[in-house]
């Protein structure tokens, strides 16, 4: 879908990513996850020393936004935690801000060096690709822009899998300090295991810290999981249900759609289409006709009447929607089912009725058009025509 380029996924918070790190044997700093200032206080009281208190948020740039603090005793920890919890962090990447709901308290390690390592999917190569650079702790995109030869890459053959030479080669190619070398091949192997076993779109450690006492530790954790693979790990799928990262995703899942089948935008024309491509094409057609889409909604293949009705209600629950364009080209989706759903949806008393334009063709279109005709709807012939009419209706209703 359009809004989650390159592919939809479930982003994990740092503390969740580190949970997975520990499952596969990647060293992480010692510490505790806390949702209250008292929890932070108690932990530091029981474990005297210097601690880092890190806000658990999805946004980038949390350090610059003041989301990371340092505490040397329990009282200080409590004070800082109280400050952070409930605070809304804002950064350039995220001007709206994100509220801090939980914290990660971690040992303050003595840093000798910071590296960067990630594995992501190269769609074109159909392979996992590993990126490593000795310039950790900073934005890797900047490294890529100003110093591209500092980034070492390796495409792993999924048939052969990971072998330690890959880690060795990358460590040498990226000129990682010697202290990394012994630990790195096994650590990257564990990261690859996580990537494949848990179906990650991205696993990233930035920085991967070499401490002055010679340990190699994942100081941060960024993990984005392919939602198509989540069924293999019901415990992790549960994390997402508890705190959905994205309201649109949650709304889509709630009515039985895929989590990337719905997204809200700023326009006034509501859209329901079958297929992501037709959905995007419909948005384009709305813009060509001088309007703006209020949303993207793909009912997917083979949708039944009940889903169409729920989708109608979801789209119209956005008060910005002034008109609706339902654009169906039946393949695996059958026109009669869609028509039935439309009729049922609009028949209900509990729905907000907006001017509706329907375009229905393809598989079982005749049957569908008959059902619509019986309910008093006259479908349009083409997408361009439907888009134009929907834009006119939305603007007329404004």
């Amino acid at each position: 879908m359009v809004c989650k380029i390159p592919e939809p996924g479930m982003k994990l918070m740092e503390y969740q990513g580190k949970d997975l790190f520990r499952r596969v044997g990647i060293p992480t700093p010692s510490g505790v996850f806390a949702t209250t200032a008292a929890g932070v206080k108690d932990y530091i009281a029981g474990h005297p020393g210097s601690w880092v208190i890190k806000s658990q948020v999805m946004m980038g740039g949390r350090g610059k936004a003041g989301g990371i603090k340092f505490a040397d005793d329990a009282a200080q920890g409590e004070t800082l935690a109280r400050e952070l919890i409930g605070k809304v962090l804002k950064s350039i990447q995220n001007p709206d801000g994100e509220e801090v709901k939980s914290l990660l308290v971690e040992e303050k390690v003595d840093i000798a060096s910071e590296a960067y390592v990630s594995i992501t999917i190269d769609r074109a190569a159909k392979k996992p690709v590993v990126l490593v650079t000795a310039q950790g702790g900073m934005d890797v995109e900047e490294v890529a822009e100003h110093n591209p030869e500092a980034i070492a890459k390796y495409w792993i053959d999924p048939a052969a899998g990971y072998a330690p030479f890959i880690g060795r080669r990358l460590a040498f190619a990226a000129k990682l300090p010697e202290g990394y070398r012994k630990a790195f091949p096994a650590l990257l192997g564990a990261l690859y295991t996580l990537f494949m076993e848990y179906g990650a779109n991205l696993v990233e450690i930035n920085p991967l810290v070499l401490t002055r006492d010679g340990r190699v530790i994942a100081s941060d954790a960024k993990v984005d999981l392919d939602d198509n693979g989540l069924y293999k790990h019901p415990d992790i799928a549960e994390w997402n249900k508890q705190s959905p990262a994205d309201e649109d995703q949650a709304a889509a899942v709630a009515i039985g759609l895929g989590m990337s089948n719905y997204a809200k935008f700023d326009g006034t024309v509501g859209i329901i289409a079958n297929g992501a491509g037709l959905g995007m094409g419909t948005m384009d057609a709305i813009r060509s006709a001088g309007g703006e889409a209020a949303n993207f909604l793909d009912i997917g293949g083979g949708a039944q009447a009940a889903l169409v009705k729920k989708s109608y209600n979801l789209v119209t629950s956005d008060p910005k929607v002034r008109a609706m364009f339902i654009n169906i080209f039946g393949g695996i989706t059958r026109g009669d089912q869609v028509a039935k759903g439309i009729v049922e949806a609009v028949a209900g008393d509990d729905v907000r009725k907006v001017p509706l334009v329907v375009r229905l063709t393809g598989t079982n279109a005749e049957e569908g058009r008959a059902i619509l005709a019986e309910a008093g709807f006259v479908p349009v012939e083409t997408m361009d025509e439907g888009a134009a009419r929907a834009v006119a209706l939305a603007q007329g209703a404004a």
Binding site: C3, K4, I121, D122, L131, P158, L278, M283, R287, F329
Partner: protein, 291 residues
């Protein structure tokens, strides 16, 4: 001529007795596809209403029928397994309708099924109009002819083909390559096949924002298809710029996957890009006239 599929291709249906499998088997048979049987474990030895035999395994089906093509209708969790089974049984081309097979399963499938062409997953399939349909496309929209078509999206394909057919521009083969992150056959694979098909006169490439397939296709066209006119469309150009997936994504390909970069790439390859699907027939007609 056509690519990947002709009227003699023997096809089996994996998941033939399931809801979608049964529905589309009937439609494909009605279109004239040579469906020689299907597979549903535990239903081996029975037949479907129209008389085609059902087998327990793909191997049994291939051994009994000599099938070379397969179409897969199974749940996502069984998708990779179905493709491995097809490969193992000697299937040459498998169309994977199933949507949402985990990307990591598909990476492994693609790396371990050398010799078998996979179309999809999450694709509407393959049609050589007037000859055979292996997919879920509405056959009546298509018309036999000389336009090749490749598309990432299913329903957008129908939209575009509908326009071509209404304009009297028939198609040699239409391939829906599928919308999942990892797919078996890319634009470039299809372009390569169309390049050596003398009866495909113009190729329509219908892409989307995101990824770098379109840019790769443009580069391939510029280098290898000097004599085969191509027309393109990019869906989703009006979409608000989405959040990026972490940092690493864009660095690999050096490619942003934005509509601008795709349009630019096609333009550099001499490929006109339609603003709307409805403009495609005239662009195609113009290219045909120049031949």
């Amino acid at each position: 001529m056509s690519i990947f599929l002709d009227k003699n291709s023997k096809v089996i249906v994996q998941g033939i007795t399931g809801r979608e499998g049964a529905f589309h088997t009937a439609r494909m048979l009605a279109y004239g596809t040579k469906i020689v049987g299907g597979v549903t474990p535990g239903k081996g030895g029975t037949t479907i209403e129209s008389g085609q035999p059902v087998f327990d395994t793909v191997k049994d089906a291939v051994d009994s029928t000599g099938a070379t093509h397969s179409i897969v209708f199974v749940p996502p969790a069984a998708g990779a397994d179905a493709l491995w089974e097809a490969h193992d049984a000697g299937i040459q081309l498998a169309v994977c309708i199933t949507e949402g097979i985990p990307a990591h399963d598909m990476m492994r499938v693609c790396a371990t099924t050398a010799g078998m062409r996979i179309i999809g997953g999450n694709c509407p399939g393959l049609i050589s109009p007037g000859k055979s349909l292996v997919g879920i496309m509405p056959g009546h929209v298509f018309l036999e002819g000389n336009i090749g078509m490749i598309s990432r999206s299913g329903t957008l394909t129908y939209e575009i083909v509908d326009g071509l057919t209404r304009a009297g521009l028939g198609q040699s083969t239409c391939v829906g390559i599928g919308g999942d992150p990892i797919i078996g056959t890319t634009f470039v694979d299809c372009l390569r096949a169309f390049a050596s098909d003398p009866e495909t006169h113009v190729v329509v490439v219908s892409g989307e924002i995101g990824g770098s397939d379109e840019e790769d296709a443009a580069a391939f066209i510029a280098e290898h298809l000097p004599d085969k006119p191509v027309v393109a469309f990019i869906g989703g150009r009006s979409a608000p710029k989405g959040k990026r997936l972490g940092h690493a994504g864009a660095i690999i390909s050096g490619n942003t996957g934005t509509p601008e970069s795709k349009v630019r790439a096609f333009a550099a390859a001499g490929v006109p890009v339609a603003d709307r699907p409805s403009q495609i027939p005239e662009l195609v007609a113009a290219r045909l006239a120049k031949r």
